[in-house]
């Protein structure tokens, strides 16, 4: 459904995307995971024909994103990272406008609008001005709008950024439901790890390059077993001791020690005995995509995901 071949995008000296290459199959939920500034939005904008790649080629539903831009545009629905509704219009008017500029015939428009509004549970608010909507409602309305014209691919750029966990879960219910009911391909970007686990396949992107692409399960199996997190009175000493007695490379992250072992439960007792400094807390869990990212890049994503600007943006979004 989407074919991307060796795409580069440079702005002056800055290389936003440096040779991205992937294929998305029809009916798939495909996720782009990576920290801010990794090149996620740039790639989406290229696929949505908003910007042209510096080099490389991409096609969507068989149409080239540069040469057949208009055909690509009518095959896709987009929910942008930043809100893009007309807040002075009602929910219904926003959808009506969308239907008109996407060429949805008048006879179908009414039915489509009521379908998508009912799906995102905004039917009762259809004649309210969008300005009065909460952040989550606006997001849902944008998803509804993206589906108005029966797109073959739905792009969701950080669909749940700045939303509370409850709303995030709801939006994910819609997305999964959607894929089941209509044979639609979904391409989304996120920097929430738990969210990425909902995808069929994930591309982990960092510094403009895809560093890994696979199913969430396979990606997690890269971590190799279980993850143990512990904090001690002296982490440096503890890391040394773990290395000496078990020859395992432990990393310090957010003043906690993180290590991976094949069999976590059996290993816990051995671990506790091998550390001489006092242990304040210890936990064992299955690996998450956070651990995958840490393993691949040596950094955690969380450190850089929510900078002051992002939380400000998220707040603005909630208020608007």
């Amino acid at each position: 459904m989407i074919e991307v071949r060796d795409i580069y995008k440079t702005y002056g000296d800055i290389e936003a995307v440096r040779g991205v290459d992937f294929t998305v199959h029809a009916g798939e939920i495909f996720g782009f995971l990576g920290p801010n500034g990794a090149g996620k939005t740039t790639t989406i904008n290229i696929l949505c024909t908003l910007i042209k790649p510096t080099s490389g080629s991409a096609s969507l539903a068989g149409y080239n994103v540069v040469d057949d831009a208009e055909k690509v545009r009518s095959s896709i629905g987009i929910v942008f990272q930043d809100p893009s509704l007309d807040e002075r219009l009602t929910a219904h008017e926003n959808l009506e406008f969308h239907g008109m500029i996407y060429g949805v015939p008048k006879v179908d428009r009414r039915g489509r609008i009521s379908n998508v509004l009912k799906m995102v549970e905004l039917w009762d608010r259809r004649d309210d001005i969008v300005k009065t909507f909460s952040g989550g409602m606006k997001r849902r309305l944008e998803i509804a709008r993206g589906l108005m014209h029966n797109p073959r691919v739905l792009f969701l750029d950080e669909p749940t950024l700045g939303l509370d966990p409850q709303t995030r879960n709801r939006i994910w219910e819609y997305i999964r439901d959607l894929r089941q009911r209509e044979n639609i391909t979904i391409f989304l970007t996120t920097h929430y790890m738990d969210e990425a686990e909902n995808c069929d396949r994930i591309a982990i992107i960092d510094n403009g390059k895809i560093i890994s692409l696979d199913t969430p399960a396979k990606l997690k199996s890269m971590v190799g077993g279980d993850v143990i997190t512990l904090s001690t009175s002296d982490n440096k000493v503890a890391i040394e001791e773990i290395k000496k007695s078990h020859s395992i490379e432990a990393l310090e992250q957010d003043s906690k020690i993180v290590l991976e072992v094949p069999d976590g439960e059996g290993f816990l007792a051995k671990l506790v005995h091998s550390i001489s400094v006092s242990i304040d807390s210890i936990s064992l869990r299955r690996p998450t995509l956070d651990d995958v990212f840490l393993k691949l890049t040596g950094r955690t994503m969380r450190e850089e995901t929510m900078g002051p600007l992002d939380s400000f943006k998220a707040q603005v979004r909630m208020r608007r």
């Binding site: 208009e70 809100p83 007309d86 002075r88 996407y102």
Partner: protein, 256 residues
Amino acid sequence: MHNLRAVYSIWLRDLIRYRRDKYRLISSLAQPALFLFVFGNGLARGLAIDVQRTGGGQESYVSFIFPGIIGMTLLFTSVFTAVSIVWDREFGFLKEVMVAPISRWSIAVGKALGGSTVALIQGVIVLLLAPFLGLKLSFLTLIALIPLMYLISISLTSMGIVIAVKMETMEGFQMVLNFLVMPLFVLSGAMFPLSSLPPWLSVLTRVNPLSYGVDALRGLMLGPSLAEFPLGFDVMLLSIFAVIMMFFAVFLFNRT
């Protein structure tokens, strides 16, 4: 066909937004009323100004500036509606339009038609004040005024779009107001006759498209003896300006 529907949708959106904005309607009436009553009555009486007709006879100052005030209304509304593109960009709505499967020209044209229609409505509302100023307009004059007001509006809206496409932030808006809209208004002959100005000022009024708009409005409403140029000449210059601005607006939209 599809692009024409896009033009229509963008036009319709501006009209819906206008209808919903009560403050705009009120303030659009308040400003012309203020100008008419303060300048037209206060200033004119205090300084005993009347305007000489070229063929002899006099016209009261308040009726002299009335066409100018209509020109002002058209100017302000046209430019402000066009500059709302910058708001759309700031609020993200422009993206929604830009990724739609429509040609870019239809966005520019829809916006130009929308802004000029809103300006025309505002102009007609101000025109309704005419009887209160003792101005009698024949039915035929009223009919002729509509297309003229629309022509002025569409040329100014297109000019506003050209500016809006180039304008990055809302802060630039103050600049546009101070360095474009106000000079265009003041130098248009809306408030005083342009016939006896010093040459350097004359040059500025001659290159101002609104001068020809106000002149045409005045000629139609008060009679050709108060107009500087024949109506046909004014309309021709306005049309040329409108076409050039429209062309530029479409060109710039195509490039972004």
